[in-house]
Amino acid sequence: MQTHVWKKMKKYKTFYFLFIPIALYFLIFTYYPFLKGLVMSFQENRLIGKRPFAGVENYALVLQDTDFLASIKNSLIIGLWDMVLYFTLSLLFAIILNELLNKTVKKTVQTIAYLPYLFSWAVIGGVWALIFDIQGLANQFLSLFSVEPIFFLAQPNLARPLIIAMGVWRSIGYFALLYTVAIINIDTQLYEAARIDGASRMMQIRKIIIPSLAPTMKTILVLLSIGVLTHFDEIFIMVNPANRRKIGTLLLYVFETGIINFKTGTASAGATLVMVGTLVFTAIIRKLIRYDKD
């Protein structure tokens, strides 16, 4: 038996040889950084030289840090709102878009809505800077109702809604596209049958389209739940002294503590907690929607 496997392995030796660079890549740039981060979270903050073992000191430190606690709150608020809004708004948009009969119009609307998903968060930041400028589109619109101009980007109270809206603006076209593909794949015979039974279009949407989208909804929910605690790019772009208290998320904390201020131990402890949080949260979502059952 063993000689048999050995013979086979010899036959496939080219493949093992070709696999070496791939395995090395994942070991050095994925597995090792992960383990290194984990180890560093139990070591003292030190950039060079030996890092003495620190036990759970970093974890205690990070959990007492008011900045970290504030970033948990910010992450949860921004992350959960984004998750709920991406999920529902894109679903509604896809269903409504599907009722458009003209294919060219449908395609054009879809493309316009999809385009922002191609853009870097910095580009979206630029769009926001322009339309929420003191003379921008948003203030122009409000002036129609004689509202005084607002410094949107410097208002701490508007910081979270603006960040959440940024995500929605960028992402609903993309998620709507995922739903649209699932709608296109619905068996047309189902509609025929419903028609014979005299079901109205509204009824068909409720009884055929929405139930058929269940698997896509589950996939999207799981995808979104992984991202709830990992918002970084848009925060990094938009953060300023006025809104930091409201939108500083966990990963911004990890980045600034570890990479800007070189407190690698503290930052790694924070990152590890985010990892655990993400695992727990995804597990809860998977359980709630019975993702692994069918």
Partner: protein, 289 residues
């Protein structure tokens, strides 16, 4: 399908009107800001800074573009980004295809273990390991180098599985007969598998190019030297902390928006050229992911 819809399939009129209003609203909400950015970028300093909504540049001028390209030297980050994204994507596609091909060999001993080894890397989002990634790259001397930006993300579990699934659609008999004719494994890989998988390769290539072009987290983790920054990171400082990018001179709205357009437009062009591959990739990505 649209033609088959009978009259009883139409929504009640008030609902139809509501739907059309919603769609118009969404189009305006998505389209107007983009149009606004484009129009301001082609406006003169005076026009772009005056109150009033600009949806059409009158008269159009390239002032903003020449200022941001030469004076603020956006050319530098632009070519940095092109270099890092193109070279990185080419390597990524090659590595992913190779790994996918290896995992397609049905009788390969330990294939399951190799598959799980790659699958496992997909469970933790990259951003969560940024401190470890920083430390490893520092130890390897890759901080502040383009090589660092290219090497990190040289292959990903996602792309490997996408390619593997693509290759599984190619009949094994093709490879078998080539093998009998004495073709080497690398010949079979390049002459049969790669050639028959162009749409798959284009798909992961497009997705990877977009990811690399737009990347922020990895760039700010590895690169502190402003000369080596890529477009999104430079764009951020142009927009929000301009003194560090242009010295003493003020960057007006038209030049800022020109920078926004220059960062976004290559991907929009790419999108229109690779649309078919792109949409299919998006689907596979989301469904399998």
């Amino acid at each position: 399908m649209a033609k088959k819809l009978g009259t009883q399939d139409r929504l009640p009129l008030p609902v139809q009107v509501l739907y059309i209003l919603i769609i118009l609203f969404v189009v305006a909400l998505m389209g107007l800001p983009m149009l606004n950015v484009l129009a301001v970028s082609f406006s003169s300093i005076a026009k772009s800074d005056a109150p009033g909504l600009i949806l059409f540049p009158n008269p159009p001028t390239l002032e903003g573009y020449t200022f941001i390209w030469s004076f603020v030297n956006l050319a530098q980050p632009f070519f940095n980004t092109v270099y890092v994204a193109v070279v990185g994507t080419a390597l990524h596609v090659l590595m992913a295809a190779l790994a996918g091909y290896i995992l397609t060999q049905r009788d390969l001993p330990f294939r399951k273990a190799m598959t799980s080894f790659i699958l496992l890397t997909m469970t933790v989002p990259n951003e969560l390991t940024m401190i470890g990634i920083y430390a490893v790259n520092r130890d390897l001397g890759l901080l502040n180098t383009y090589t660092g930006l290219i090497v990190n993300g040289m292959v990903s579990g996602f792309s490997v599985f996408l390619m593997r699934n693509y290759f599984q659609g190619i009949p094994l008999s093709l490879a078998e007969s080539a093998r009998i004719d004495g073709a080497s494994e690398l010949t079979i890989f390049s002459k049969i598998y790669l050639r028959l998988s162009i749409p798959g390769l284009m798909t992961i290539g497009t997705l990877e190019l977009i990811r690399r072009w737009n990347n922020i987290n990895l760039v700010v983790t590895l690169i502190s030297d402003m000369k080596k920054w890529t477009l999104p990171v430079v764009l951020r400082s142009i927009l929000f902390e301009q003194t560090s990018t242009s010295g003493t001179s003020y960057i007006f709205a038209n030049a800022k928006m020109a920078a926004v357009v220059l960062t976004a437009i290559p991907l929009v062009i790419l999108y229109f050229f690779t649309q078919t591959f792109f949409t299919s990739g998006v689907m596979i990505g989301a469904i399998k992911g």
